[in-house]
């Protein structure tokens, strides 16, 4: 059993419906913390199989938007869809079912620090598949090898560098071959070379096809390289959207200032 959703014909046979071509949809989502409005009437659509980048300065609500998609936060107003499931209304087993199809790479990787790197990657497999122990270990090794960490299986997360932790986090996020991958600030806190390595892994994944990727970043080169479509958040609102070229050619002073900055994360 894996978390990858059924193919289109399978889904049609099972439900009689055509699977959604929109992987993620936010409809008029607003969220406040106290008196501070972090998301203000945000609407967006991520098409299945594309890489979608949410850009913006720190504190503009990018990560909050990502957390709404996986149901870690609930909107004060508006609706959040993953495929045809309205995530903000789901609980318990139904929410778990949706989450099994989503991989989440946290900003600081969020590896479970009491178990080895290999067991971190094996964790979702142990929880959600009926694979034998040997198969789970083999698959975890395979996922670690794909991010260049084949030899780190038995190391503890504390023994890894920042870049290695992030790669291990990516391996864990991909353990169940999710249809949707959410990535929070992939290059934050990393040197430019390590950040490029992470970007390359995401690019490989994108080119491999089949996985929809939503990336939150304030790294412009990374966003331009990875994104099929970009939105820019400012003070909780979407101020620009389009292809990387659309945003690069924007005459909005705010977008221009951001897109021409030399920030590399």
């Amino acid at each position: 059993m894996t978390a990858r959703p059924a193919s289109a014909p399978q889904e049609r046979r099972r439900t009689g419906r055509t699977p959604s071509t929109v992987a993620v949809r936010l409809e008029h989502v607003s969220k406040s913390f106290g008196t501070r409005k972090v998301l203000d009437d945000v609407s967006l659509e991520v098409r299945t199989g594309t890489a979608f980048v949410i850009l913006g300065r720190s504190g503009t609500g990018k990560s909050v938007a990502l957390r709404h998609i996986v149901g870690l936060m609930r909107p004060d107003a508006g609706r959040v869809f993953v495929g045809d499931d309205e995530v903000n209304t789901l609980e318990g087993a139904e929410l778990s079912r949706v989450r099994k199809g989503i991989g989440f790479l946290f900003q600081n990787a969020a590896l479970f620090d009491s178990i080895t790197v290999g067991e971190n990657v094996a964790f979702p497999l142990r929880r959600h598949t009926r694979l034998k122990d040997a198969d789970i270990r083999a698959r975890a090794r395979e996922k670690l090898a794909a991010v260049g960490l084949a030899r780190e299986y038995d190391k503890m997360p504390a023994d890894l560098s920042g870049g290695m932790r992030k790669r291990a986090g990516l391996a864990r996020a991909l353990a169940l071959d999710p249809a949707l991958l959410l990535v929070d600030e992939p290059s934050a806190g990393l040197d430019p070379i390590t950040a490029d390595e992470i970007d390359q892994l995401l690019l490989d994944l994108k080119e491999g096809g089949g996985t929809t990727i939503v990336i939150v970043t304030h790294n412009i080169p990374s966003a331009r390289q990875l994104g099929d479509e970009l939105v820019m958040l400012h003070e909780g609102r979407i101020v620009a959207r389009g292809t990387p070229d659309d945003l690069a050619g924007s005459d909005d002073p705010l977008v221009m200032a951001f897109m021409t900055s030399h920030n590399t994360g």
Partner: protein
């Protein structure tokens, strides 16, 4: 100033309400599936078995000290032969359960508060949720269950270690044999002394684990918050444990009047 004091009181009340709801949620989850058996067993090892050396050593020391104090008192009445029985009653009925509870609220309370707090601020709890795992059941309910099971076992260990400590003190002074010592120790206690007093530590276990888990699970403000959660877990669970003990002793005397004799 009154305004500030009033706000502080309201905040404390709100926290008490939150913590009560948290404990209620844990209670409900304890008796409804799915059960995280594997993780509960792991916690039983981490929280229970790993606390055994602390309890055993402390029990020995408490036993030695209690025996010395008891001897000083009973010698005046020429009743030294009652020392083992007196010590056993004191340990089994109150000293063992309460001392074990307080020691464990220090060791386990601080551990749970710090561990869950660190997991919260490093997003590990969010990562569990995002991996489609019920973090509350996996982290909180397993610890509460493990503490409920571990406390009576560790209390029994404390009682025996205390009696053994008493024996060491006695044999050093009088040369009393182990057989005679334990014969005298068990001469005046029966199951009504042991069972209610030991089972009340299940409530201690629940209090320690749920208070510490609440403070760790709801930690904010980074590493400073983790330290605060850990300290408050020890302080609050110790205070609550002492207060709960008063209530439980009253209840035991009500339901088992012979335990008061």
């Amino acid at each position: 100033m009154l305004d500030r004091a009033g706000r502080a009181v309201l905040e404390r009340l709100a926290m008490a309400g939150d913590a009560s709801l948290f404990a209620l949620r844990a209670t409900r989850a304890l008796v409804t599936p799915p059960f995280e058996v594997r993780e509960t067993v792991r916690q039983l090892y981490e929280l229970g078995l790993r606390s055994a050396p602390l309890i055993a050593v402390s029990g020995l020391a408490v036993g030695v000290v209690l025996s010395m104090h008891t001897r000083a008192s009973l010698e005046r009445f020429g009743a030294e032969s009652m020392i083992p029985a007196g010590l056993a009653i004191a340990l089994v009925r109150e000293t063992g359960p309460l001392t074990a509870g307080l020691l464990l609220s220090g060791r386990i309370g601080a551990g749970i508060g710090a561990e869950l707090g660190a997991m919260r601020v490093t997003e590990q709890i969010d990562a569990l949720e995002a991996t489609a795992v019920d973090a509350f059941r996996y982290l909180v309910v397993t610890r509460v269950a493990a503490c409920i099971v571990a406390l009576p076992i560790l209390t029994t260990l404390m009682n025996f270690a205390g009696m053994l400590g008493g024996f060491v003190a006695e044999t050093a002074i009088t040369g009393m044999t182990l057989t005679l010592y334990f014969e005298r120790a068990f001469s005046l206690i029966d199951m009504t002394d042991y069972i209610p007093a030991t089972l009340k530590t299940m409530v201690f276990g629940f209090v320690i684990a749920s208070v510490s888990s609440y403070l760790g699970y709801t930690t904010s403000s980074g590493t400073e918050g983790v330290g605060r959660a850990s300290t408050r877990a020890v302080v609050l669970s110790s205070i609550l444990l002492i207060v709960t003990n008063v209530v439980l002793v009253r209840l035991i005397f009500f339901f088992f009047p012979e335990a008061a004799g």
